[in-house]
């Protein structure tokens, strides 16, 4: 495809539509209550062939997008990007959201977290080696940050990186790693210096997930799903050219990654759960509860909350909230989630906890079980409040025995990953 030097937003939108129209169906704008699946959270959380099939479908789809120049709209051309602006990227994302495209959640860590970090800190060779593959769908990424004893306090991590003649050898354990069980590479933080140096003795590596000594084991959540992994590293050899940034300079890399992660959290409401407020209104209508003034007040607040998050995201896109946006939106959203659960409880009663087979009722229990992870993932509520207080409002740091550069948040993406924060 010939790409002109300047492409307008309308042109990129038309181009995306032209690409999508012959390939996939448009989403019906008016999903009917009571029809189709009644899940409230994303699917694909069980291991097995169906998950692998979904990943494979995602890869096939991503390759087509990439070849059409619609995968990495705002990426530099030398690494496979289209070289356009962030506004162009948003337009393409909006157009994509109007079609029934395959679920590409497995690329989220690569596209939104690890990719941007490599772009900012990688060597030219690293960028060339990884970025096209990440965007073409060949390379799925995971984060290897959190450890059982290093959650919120990431700088206390203990996975060791020891220098050898050929490079380095890694030993340790990581947790809460999404997609690690089919990822090709992992962005890993390891202690290369003295533990007493805390964040100054950490190095970031790009680890091949199929290297000898890497052992990925599923971690079962209270939802029953096995979304996360534990990753054990047993004498994993790794070459010098897999170091991201400087030796003992990994904390800087981590800050970039964590910041990308926070931005991702504040990106859009819709990914968290499927249109919960609309579902609440529908449910109230369907049960007859909508006629109850007290229920109307609950519904009103639910819509208000969703509306405010949307408006906040819109303001954040135009830069109104500066560095606070990720933390602000995350705190609003986790609180909203608790509210939606309470609202659904009010509408459903026992059908919230007992499966009577009635459409769109017991599925709300997915949200009850899934909600606690959202308050921890990507930096707990407490960490977000500290970030706002210290970095945005300029209040003093907590008195601490030893003070890290930041109250760190763990490796995670919103609906996908999480962390052992405490």
């Amino acid at each position: 495809m010939a790409i002109r030097a300047t492409t307008t937003l309308d042109e990129i939108a038309a181009e995306a539509h032209a690409f999508l129209e012959p390939r996939v169906a448009r989403l019906s704008s008016d999903e009917r209550f009571g029809e189709g699946p009644d899940d409230l959270v994303g699917t694909g959380l069980q291991r097995g062939q169906s998950e692998l099939d979904e990943v494979e479908a995602a890869r096939v789809w991503q390759r087509q997008l990439f070849d059409a120049g619609l995968a990495w709209v705002d990426g530099p051309k030398e690494y496979g990007g289209r070289g356009l602006s962030g506004a162009h990227r948003s337009v393409v994302q909006r157009v994509l959201s109007e079609y029934e495209v395959p679920n590409t959640a497995c690329f989220m860590v690569g596209h939104d977290i690890v990719g941007p970090t490599i772009l900012e800190h990688g060597t030219p060779a690293q960028k060339a080696a990884y970025l096209p593959g990440i965007w073409r769908g060949d390379i799925i990424c995971c984060q290897l940050f959190s450890e059982p004893d290093a959650g919120s306090d990431l700088a206390s991590l203990r996975t060791r990186a020891e220098p050898t003649d050929q490079g380095w050898v890694l030993n340790g354990q990581k947790v809460w790693s999404s997609f690690a069980h089919f990822a090709q590479i992992g962005e890993l933080l390891a202690r290369s210096g003295d533990p007493a140096d805390r964040h100054r003795g950490i190095t970031a590596f790009l680890v091949d997930m199929d290297a000898p000594g890497v052992d990925v084991r599923p971690l079962r959540q209270i939802t029953g799903s096995e979304h996360f992994n534990e990753v054990f590293l047993d004498d994993v050899a790794i070459a010098d050219d897999r170091i991201l940034g400087e030796v003992n300079g990994g904390w800087q890399i981590a800050l970039t990654t964590l910041s990308s992660e926070r931005s991702l959290m504040g990106d859009e409401h819709s990914g968290l759960v499927r249109d919960p407020v609309r579902r609440l209104f529908d449910l109230a209508e369907a049960t007859g509860a909508a006629a109850d003034p007290a229920v109307q007040e609950v519904l009103a607040e639910a819509w208000e909350r969703e509306h405010i998050v949307r408006q906040t995201a819109r303001r954040a896109m135009s830069g109104d909230l500066g560095d606070a946006s990720g933390s602000v939106i995350k705190l609003l959203m986790t609180d909203d989630l608790e509210f939606y659960i309470a609202a659904a409880t009010r509408l459903l009663g026992t059908r919230m906890v007992v499966d009577t087979g009635s459409w769109g009722t017991y599925s709300w229990n997915q949200l009850v079980l899934g909600a606690p992870a959202h308050r921890i993932a990507g930096g707990s509520d407490e960490i977000q409040k500290n970030i706002i207080a210290e970095r945005i409002l300029g209040l003093p740091r907590d008195p601490r025995p030893s003070i890290p550069d930041q109250p760190s948040a763990p490796n995670t993406t919103r609906r996908t990953t999480s962390d052992a924060h405490r």
């Binding site: 971690l219 026992t350 909600a371 025995p401």
Partner: protein, 331 residues
Amino acid sequence: MAERLGLQAVRVPEELGGTGLGLEEQLLVHEEMGRALYGGPFVPVVGQVVPALLGLADDEPVRAMVRQISAGKLIVVPAFARWYDRNASLPVLRDGDNLSGVVPTVLEGLDVDAWLVPALDGDEPVIALVLAGDQHSMVTPLPSADLTRRFADVEFSGASATVLARGARALEAMEALETGAVLALSAESVGIAAEALAMTIDYVKVREQFGQVIGSFQSIKHQVSELFVLLESARSALAGAVDAVDQATAMRTASLAVARRRCGSTGFRIANEAIHLHGGIGFTWEHRIHLYYRRAKTNEVLLDERGTQARVLAASVSELYAHGNGIGRVP
């Protein structure tokens, strides 16, 4: 467990083979059951059926049944939905011994020897006993979020029934079934909350981040303090309900409604915050805290189905304040 300890006889008078303790002692047992997430039919048998049968114990067959329950030889649970859902319909009795109707979401309604079934014979309320095993009684287990307790729909289609009480006596027994469930589950939720909070306090005292136990961070301390205050408020709500069980209807209803609301919501809130304060480990399957969270949510909805108790409470208090007798109007 309960059978071995004889706990099912806690309230039964000694002459009927029980230990003859009081309501407060019984509720302490329910609280402990909550702490331990005991999964058997303790609430329906001991919390509901025994008090209801004791009200009918001038009848010798009923006394015999209570003796068997006390001895752990008989499991009778209520097939009754109205205690949690005010609008639930009752099964219908025909020809004096023939029961039909569906009772939804019966707590521990499976693997029982008999059901105690509030029903209607024409317009007259009755309490019927239906022995299990009859092909005219169908039990459908229901998947539930609560992994330590079972629910089932129980459907009677012409099941053979024995009437134990009629009219006012039946209404009293129904009230006993409802009050018993409310007090038992409220106490259980207090126990769930107490245990979840205790686990959390223990955890924040040892879990270290940033070189200190996280329980030394003021934010954590204050969260835990707030949960403690909430737990005490639930205990007070329960104490108020116990105090009011023998008072006039309006005060009794209001106090029970407060226990339903406060104990149920506190159990869920504290279990939820407990998961949060446990950090990542809190939402792993192998940590037992999620079992508390699941049970707490279930109790919350059983105690205040669709938030109906607020209006029950407001109406009772208006009665207490003797509204309706007229009051000056604010223009």
